[in-house]
């Protein structure tokens, strides 16, 4: 029998090693973890990428050891049941798990059906399911989403539907894996108030996040992991005190950017004049078959040696804009110019010499057998001679902090953060004068983001025109530079210096 004072979850000396872990650097994903989680707790589970957070969550849901063959020692008990002897779907009634990517967990095309899935599986009567779905939607404040197609929802809406689809089972624990990555500010606000409301009803919330500091004072407990071990478990306030001041608020980054301005005021002024590296005038684009344009009358001019941050909610047109820079998409109206030349009629491969674009999913470009060959792919396509490439590989690897990795390592066997850095390196290898990065920080932890911001500043100082689309305000501050806001396919706040185009 479980009583109110008993812990909901106990983790007793849990260690876990993934099968074929030898390929990756980290062998043991969890290293003698002992925890106890009680009812009504509000927990922030933080740590750098690869520290074992997600593995721990999978162990709490029973996916480990049920689905993964790795080596598990120790014991996990959920509501008095040993996870080794309980089926995943039975544990699911007690522990709800919201995955990092709402797209990989949304199974149906309609919000109602999505929320009903778990209840349908349990064989409930149709009328009872309808009541439960309506009740849960009401409880979570998403009644307005019922009846809509899941594909038509924004990222944040899909995430809230994912929470609802789990909460219909009335689990006593809700785990969310990095729900804030890829979520815009409004979406984040709605999600956090939803979690606060659930917690008030007595649901234990475990929120996984790589940032050490998040909503100071909101969580009642923080667990920090490093290299598979719990290195801190206590009140959130103590960790906030430990984090260097400024790291959370972004003032440190802003200060660096400020210093940079002060050091080279003349240079900055020079950067405001002359031929823009990239210029868009009156650009409008509508996806085939879409009713509303994705971009409307975009005017912008970005000079060499500057950093520009593009902000805006999900679906505001940032990614579409980036595809126009190198001709992946062609404007319906208006022109795109690279160093004063209209790119109409130029092939993407040709424009790519000058404009390097990295889409949101760095992973999607890795395919080679070794890091070395991955880095050479771009330059070889461009016809850059191999001696120049040899020299550049060393530079880029040092710059991106992947010099310690063996060049013969298959990129796909690396950790998520490392893959992201290799992908960035592969794009930097092309030595383009314009660098456009769409959400480059997905999968990078705090320290790596800071490093990336430093790299981008170095590149800009060297004369590269850098563009970054990001939701991450801290990272944006670290990069410094001008900020452009987008909403509904329009530029709402143009960067200073782009006036008079």
């Amino acid at each position: 029998m479980v009583t109110a004072t008993d812990p909901l979850i106990t983790v007793d000396d849990l260690s876990y090693t993934y099968p074929r872990a030898g390929v990756r650097r980290q062998g043991t994903a969890l290293d003698h973890v002992t925890l106890s989680i009680g009812p009504g707790e509000l927990i922030l589970l933080s740590g750098e990428s690869g520290s074992g957070k997600s593995t721990l969550c999978r162990a709490l849901t029973g996916l480990i050891p049920a689905k993964r063959r790795g080596k598990m020692t120790g014991r996990v008990t959920v509501c008095g049941q040993d996870t080794r002897r309980t089926k995943v779907h039975e544990i699911a009634c007690n522990v709800g798990y919201v995955f990092q990517n709402p797209d990989s967990q949304i199974l149906c095309t309609n919000v109602d059906a999505e929320c009903a899935f778990a209840l349908e599986q349990a064989g409930n009567a149709p009328a009872a399911i309808r009541d439960a779905v309506a009740g849960t939607a009401d409880r979570l404040g998403i009644s307005h989403l019922l009846g809509r197609e899941t594909t038509a929802l924004s990222w944040g809406e899909r995430q809230r539907v994912a929470v609802a689809s789990v909460m219909v089972m009335h689990p006593s624990v809700l785990i969310l894996d990095e729900p804030f990555s890829g979520l815009d500010a409004d979406g984040a606000k709605l999600l956090i108030s939803m979690l606060a409301a659930l917690n008030r009803e007595g649901v234990t919330i475990i929120l996984v996040e790589h940032r050490l500091s998040l909503f100071p004072g909101f969580f009642t407990r923080q667990i920090v992991m490093e290299a598979g071990q719990v290195i801190y478990d206590g009140s959130q306030r103590v960790v906030d005190a430990l984090t260097p001041p400024g790291a959370a608020t972004g003032t440190a980054g802003a200060k660096v950017a400020e210093t940079r301005r002060n050091v080279a005021p003349g240079m900055d002024a020079g950067r405001r004049t002359g031929t823009p590296a990239i210029r868009l005038a009156g650009v409008t684009y509508t996806y085939p078959g879409a009713t509303a344009p994705a971009l409307q009358e975009i005017d912008m001019a970005l000079r060499p040696g500057t950093i520009t941050i593009i902000r805006g909610p999900n679906g505001s047109g940032k990614s579409t804009l980036f595809r126009l820079f190198n001709g992946l998409l062609r404007p319906d109206e208006g022109v795109v110019e690279v160093f004063g030349e209209d790119i109409t009629g130029r092939q993407v491969a040709e424009i790519a010499r000058k404009v390097a674009v990295l889409g949101q999913h760095a992973d999607s470009l890795l395919f080679e057998e070794t890091i070395e060959r991955e880095l050479r792919f771009g330059p070889e396509n461009m016809g850059i001679d191999s001696r120049t490439t040899d020299r550049r590989i060393d530079e880029v690897c040092t710059l991106m902090g992947i010099a310690h990795l063996h060049r013969g390592t298959p990129p796909l066997s690396l950790s998520a953060g490392e893959r992201q850095r290799v992908a960035l390196a592969a794009v930097l290898m092309m030595d383009a004068s314009v660098l456009a990065l769409d959400e480059p920080t997905l999968g990078l932890d705090g320290r790596r983001k800071e490093d990336l911001a430093r790299v981008l500043r170095t590149l800009a100082d060297g004369g590269v025109c850098v563009l970054v689309a990001t939701h991450d305000r801290v990272f944006a501050d670290q990069c410094g530079g001008d900020v452009m806001e987008m909403a509904g396919g329009r530029m709402t706040a143009p960067a200073p210096g782009s006036e008079g185009v």
């Binding site: 995943v88 709800g96 149906c108 899935f117 149709p126 993407v348 395919f367």
Partner: protein, 269 residues
């Protein structure tokens, strides 16, 4: 991370989209629609008469008119034109049904094309069969949502693993095409020239194929986990949030199908 390939790029067109609506065809019980789909397809396979085939195609077109999606339906049918051309070339000149009056014939090396009255009638029937089967299938997809399709299979007590997998496989085509286009974008941004013959060069092919395979494997793994965490794998029989009822409207359509079948048999015999 790869799973994020979807995200915000999903505004590109679907091959044959489901178009929500409130027409009589939309309101039919999905089981009725499945029966109509299978029944009509079966009837086209039972006959080789061009007249009967035309009758069936007209019946399907009438259903398309009732669905209010005539224009979109005709648009989708255009995809069948290349297949129709293949049928015409093969069946018209190299028909196994060459009979009746010979209008033209020739001897070209190993080929002996001929144009006969029997062959022409057969070709017309085959082209009409293509449009009848294609047309009824497209109409089914355009008026039945994925959830209704899975729901109807469940309601017929088809094992859940089968019905859900089938439905999900259809849905995955959409994910796959989105993944493929975003991978293609990434590699083109690295200077991969598809216009210079992507398929001639092994590295170029691998640069698309490998990330796509990784994406598919990762997605299937994630989806499997997500399903288990939502109770998939129980022994209980699953239910559906929607209840499907066989109504008068469904009876009318089934009666129409029966009448059509009777007509087909009368004409054929």
């Amino acid at each position: 991370m790869i799973g994020r390939i979807t995200g915000k790029t999903g505004r590109r067109g679907h091959l044959i989209p489901f178009i929500a609506g409130d027409s009589v065809v939309h309101r039919l019980d999905p089981r009725t629609k499945l029966a109509l789909l299978l029944g009509t397809s079966l009837l086209t396979l039972l006959t080789e008469s061009p007249v009967v085939m035309l009758l069936l195609l007209i019946a399907v077109a009438a259903a398309a008119v009732l669905s209010g999606l005539l224009r979109a339906w005709l648009h989708a049918l255009r995809m069948l034109i290349p297949f129709m051309l293949v049928i015409i070339v093969l069946d018209l000149f190299f028909s196994s049904h060459a009979s009746g009056a010979v209008w033209w014939s020739a001897e070209w090396w190993l080929l002996a094309p001929s144009l006969t009255s029997g062959g022409t009638a057969f070709t017309i029937a085959m082209a009409l069969r293509l449009f009848a089967i294609g047309g009824v299938s497209f109409l089914f997809v355009m008026t039945t949502s994925f959830d209704d399709f899975v729901g109807s299979l469940r309601a017929m007590h088809v094992p859940d693993t089968f019905s859900f997998s089938l439905g999900f496989a259809l849905k995955s085509v959409e994910h796959l095409s989105r993944d493929a286009s975003s991978i293609l974008d990434a590699q083109r941004s690295r200077g991969l020239g598809i216009d210079r013959g992507l398929m001639r060069n092994t590295t170029g092919m691998l640069s698309i194929f490998i990330p796509l395979t990784v994406a598919v494997l990762r997605r299937s793994d994630e989806v499997a986990d997500a399903m288990q965490c939502r109770g998939f794998g129980r022994e209980e029989e699953t239910t559906s949030i929607k209840e499907y009822h066989f109504r008068r409207l469904d009876a009318a359509f089934v009666a129409a199908l029966a009448a059509l079948a009777a007509g087909v048999f009368l004409i054929s015999s």
